[in-house]
């Protein structure tokens, strides 16, 4: 009797393991190829057609909430327009990338290097830009998404190293694809940590020379209270993990420092300028003092150096 029971359990177990590969075969897995890039214009998916549509799999409507933060390129553009000087010595050391062995450190430092890459691109540091892209590639390899920064992309960046707009396109397209892949592969945590790293590096670079910075730059730094709010919303939208919890704890002193920035909410309004451009004005008023900015600078440097050691 015991023998028969064991056989039955064995056959069930075998059935499960035999069924799994079959399911993979029928369902298909991996990434949908862009027919345009593969030349297979007639390719069809069994699930959703190439135009992104299929019969609905659910009936009940829901509300999807997205959380987003400004990209490192947008932050670097802000810094440039605010009159900051390029400081190559402030960037994260390239050779440290090989030492990051955990997913947590690889993800956060990918964001930090993305911040440095964006800063280098915007300030026309051509060779440095390619070097930082190569370093991002190394970390992407470790995260299992190295194919998104392949040799062809590096060569494209190298060939366009003197054309800022082309490099900006390459960087934004690449990091958009990375964010998409992290979402598709259920690696949202990695995307969130990368976004945090990029935000931290942007604010770190912006606060390095506060004593000599323009009023515009100081205002831009104070306004980062709003983007920090976006970032915390993003991090809180994921199921908690030790790495996300550690990041939120690391950012707690930065949040406390930004509490010194006062934002008075006012109603915004859209008006049409004489050339037809719609201008949104009104909205929040931001006020701060030098001491608050100094604490922001200290706390952001601490969290940045905690991860980038």
């Amino acid at each position: 009797m015991k023998f028969k029971h064991d056989r039955f359990k064995l056959s069930l177990s075998m059935a499960k393991w035999m069924a799994l590969p079959l399911m993979f075969l029928f369902i298909g897995c991996g990434e949908g190829q862009d027919p345009a890039s593969t030349g297979d214009a007639g390719a069809k998916s069994e699930t959703m057609d190439e135009e992104g549509m299929m019969p609905a799999r659910r009936q009940k409507a829901f509300k999807k909430i997205f959380h987003a933060v400004p990209s490192p390129i947008e932050t670097a553009l802000l810094l440039e327009r605010s009159g900051i000087n390029f400081d190559g010595d402030a960037l994260h050391s390239l050779d440290k990338a090989v030492g990051y062995s955990t997913t947590e450190l690889q993800a956060v430092n990918l964001g930090i290097y993305a911040g440095d890459l964006s800063y280098s691109v915007i300030f026309n540091q051509n060779q440095q830009s390619v070097d930082y892209l190569n370093t991002c590639r190394r970390l992407c390899d470790g995260l299992g998404v190295g194919d998104l920064i392949d040799a062809d992309l590096i060569a494209r960046a190298d060939n366009n190293r003197s054309i800022r707009d082309s490099l900006v396109d390459i960087v934004t397209e690449t990091f958009y694809a990375l964010n998409a892949r992290f979402r598709e592969n259920g690696m949202e945590e990695v995307g969130g940590l990368m976004a945090a790293g990029g935000w931290i590096e942007g604010v770190y670079l912006g606060t390095l020379s506060l004593n000599t910075s323009t009023e515009d730059l100081k205002l831009r730094i104070a306004e980062q209270k709003m983007t920090l709010d976006n970032l915390m919303g993003l991090l809180n939208s994921y199921a908690p993990t030790p790495a996300l919890t550690a990041m939120k704890e690391a950012l707690a002193p930065v949040e406390a420092a930004f509490a010194g920035v006062r934002i008075t909410e006012n109603q915004a309004a859209a008006t049409a300028a004489s050339d037809g451009t719609v201008i949104i004005s009104g909205g929040p008023e931001v006020s701060y003092d030098q001491a608050t900015l100094a604490v922001i600078s200290e706390t952001i440097a601490a969290v940045r150096n905690q991860y980038a050691q």
């Binding site: 399911m23 897995c29 959703m48 201008i279």
Partner: protein, 151 residues
């Protein structure tokens, strides 16, 4: 009795596991198809803008809503693009300020994007609606909320 109980447990558990796997891989494939859709149909409309690199794309059905909160920086021009599969009909969207007051409503306009300049930095919310349909067969499709900026 033990054999029967084991069999029942397996029958109960296995379809659930199978269903979970089916849903997981179907969802992953749909997400990948959405990226292809976005690349082909949406990104070209942000040609003159620096694209925000966040991936705000989801598979939605009629009656769904999507919402995105983002900070827009002062003295910068933006294009907000709400790009959805045509099978979902005409998507509508509103832009709200940080207090929830409406700034823009696409309902009475024939455009999938909103071009504007922000005078001073502010957080705004973009709210998107997929119209209800009375069709017998409902379809789902990809919807992307994209933001580009320029000097």
């Amino acid at each position: 009795m033990n054999v029967m109980r084991s069999a029942m447990t397996a029958i109960k558990k296995f379809p659930l596991a199978a269903l979970a796997l089916v849903m997981m891989f179907t969802a992953a494939d749909a997400a990948a198809q959405c990226r292809t859709f976005t690349k082909k149909r949406c990104l070209p409309q942000l040609d003159d803008y620096v694209q925000n690199d966040n991936y705000n794309t989801a598979v939605l059905i009629p009656g769904d809503e999507a919402e995105l909160e983002l900070t827009f920086f002062g003295d910068r021009a933006y294009r907000l693009l709400v790009c959805g599969h045509p099978v979902l009909g005409d998507l509508t969207f509103q832009v709200l300020d940080s207090r929830g007051n409406g700034i823009y409503d696409s309902s009475d306009k024939d455009s999938d994007h909103f071009d504007f300049r922000v005078a001073n930095t502010q957080q705004m919310t973009i709210r998107v609606q997929v119209p209800e349909t009375d069709g017998v067969i409902q379809h789902e499709g990809c919807v992307s909320i994209m933001v580009g900026s320029k000097g």
